[in-house]
Symmetry: none
Subunit: 192 residues, 4 copies
């Protein structure tokens, strides 16, 4: 049966923003409902599993959007690992900039409060990160980078860490640093 309202969607979008900004526990359902304009009475109709279900769905949405971003960056940088890395860093930096360095990574913020003790959530997060790593690895391998998987993991870790540094520093210097580092590393690797 087709959905009749967008209440669910509004709640998910607002929850994602707040979880990324404040974390999970610090974000009350009341704040989500108020800021999203979603109706209060039907929250448990849409999310019978409560806040946990909401957080899980936010994680899954965020993961699939991130995966799409990676794939679209890969699509425009065929055979160009250096360009791919720089495009990825710029995309992350641009989103941080647009939010005035307020938005963290939803997966990271959820992990910080739940992993590894909440097994269901940890599994969701692991799948999400795995999908990102695999997509990056695949493209780097297509570009004939050595140890594509190791570099993909290092790049992903650096991007995640750079988000935290950027929030604290209020600028995108960390993203420029990692873009520079990984680009240099790829150039030297190619020359070798």
């Amino acid at each position: 049966m087709a959905r009749k309202t967008d209440a669910r969607e509004k709640a998910l979008r607002t929850a994602e923003r707040l979880f990324r900004t404040q974390g999970l526990a610090a974000t009350g359902l009341a704040q989500i409902i108020t800021e999203s304009g979603a109706p209060k009475g039907s929250f448990y109709f849409h999310f019978p599993g409560g806040k946990d279900q909401l957080a899980s769905e936010v994680a899954e949405r965020f993961a699939s959007h991130g995966l799409a971003a990676i794939r679209s960056a890969a699509a425009v940088t065929t055979r160009d690992a250096k360009g791919f890395v720089e495009l990825l860093c710029n995309a992350f930096a641009a989103e941080m900039n647009a939010s005035k360095f307020a938005l963290g990574c939803a997966l990271q913020n959820i992990a910080a409060e739940k992993a590894p003790y909440d097994h269901a959530m940890t599994a969701t997060l692991e799948t999400a990160f795995q999908s990102w790593t695999a997509a990056i690895t695949e493209h780097l391998a297509d570009c004939e980078v050595n140890d594509a998987r190791g570099m993909a993991t290092a790049l992903l870790a650096a991007l995640e860490g750079a988000r935290t540094l950027a929030r604290v520093q209020g600028n995108d210097a960390a993203f420029r640093a990692i873009a520079g580092h990984f680009a240099a590393s790829l150039r030297e690797s190619a020359e070798a």
Copy 2:
């Protein structure tokens, strides 16, 4: 003057562990007091600023311990950038292992909930990360690494991100990946 009790110290240690595991908002003062065995009545004697002061002091303690760890790694790897990077990665990985991958970075977890809107806390965190970056940069420069500051930033970002990946994956693969990547990058750089 000698301290009279260790209530303050116990609270700080327990708060650090809980903030690293669950985050700030999800950790109640009651839990800290209960788990630390500290007395209830004198919490606001020791921490008149309440939970905020506690979090600030945890951040500062964590920052100075981290700085000491970086400097001690540097002290045993004179002129050996590759050894330094590997030692650092191993140290981070070892701590995660010992905690069964439950402990995040205190600075990161606090940043996730407070930056950039809580200006005082953000400033504290920025100082902390800056001290780490400076120490790493200094040692890499001593080892005559090109763009020491850029690599230091990338390395720190990667270490922070690897903590999240390790918590979610339940293993230290991310640390091994970044150790391998940065070591290779340093070798090639030296050869060039």
Copy 3:
């Protein structure tokens, strides 16, 4: 006209069981609907008066079933007051046993939460108890028992109280005690 669905009947049966087990306020409509398998959407079509109407109908059903049980016990114990009392006690005990001592008396549970402030419900309950008392009195009088009405009231009170004791004790000892007591009382009365 034949009924179209049994949704109404299923709701009533499930509500009776839950009201007897948990009481009125502790039983939510959601639980009744879920456990009965009845459709959610048409509850207020079948019971426009809501939970109050449901409770009233449960009380009336329970009262008429109880009355039928009393009359059928009377029918097989003509001129045998002692046999009637024992049969009644055994019937109550058997139902408790079958439910593993989980079921209280619907009238008693509703009375515990509503009497005497809810006048409509109190009137329904009074009529119900009155019908039981009258039926017992009538049969005892047919058996030529002295003060049939007094004994009927005492017997009914004891049966109601025994239900509570049986639930708490997890056995039917209370029913056996009152069967023994009232039977002895009737024998002595007959001898006198």
Copy 4:
């Protein structure tokens, strides 16, 4: 350490009255706090176990008060089983009268919502009823009544059931009926 306020006591007294009138689930903590004038903020300081602990303590208080009432009735009816039974019935009836037939038995109301699935509460209730049965049995035995335990159980069951009937009927007829019945039964037994 001596208690410093009567907040605990006020909450217990009000909770007992409300549980007896409305039952457990229908009585909110907010109502207890409001009507008792007890402070809200320290409720979980006094009752860390929450509503369950409150209900348990109410049950225990009610049980010990009831036991005291039985013993004091026994103390003034030495060797007079009939007088004892009548005194007990009158005492129950008088309390009902004074409350305008609004107060049920705390143990019965709690049992109606919790027994037998809440094991801890059921055990508390069983101990309570057992103490009452034992005290009545003991006095009847002292009065040389045959089958003192059986009669004690029957009497207790009748008293409990009479409370429900009295609430519904709005008068103490049920108490007078059981007083008459048990007194007659004792007289005949003595004559036999």
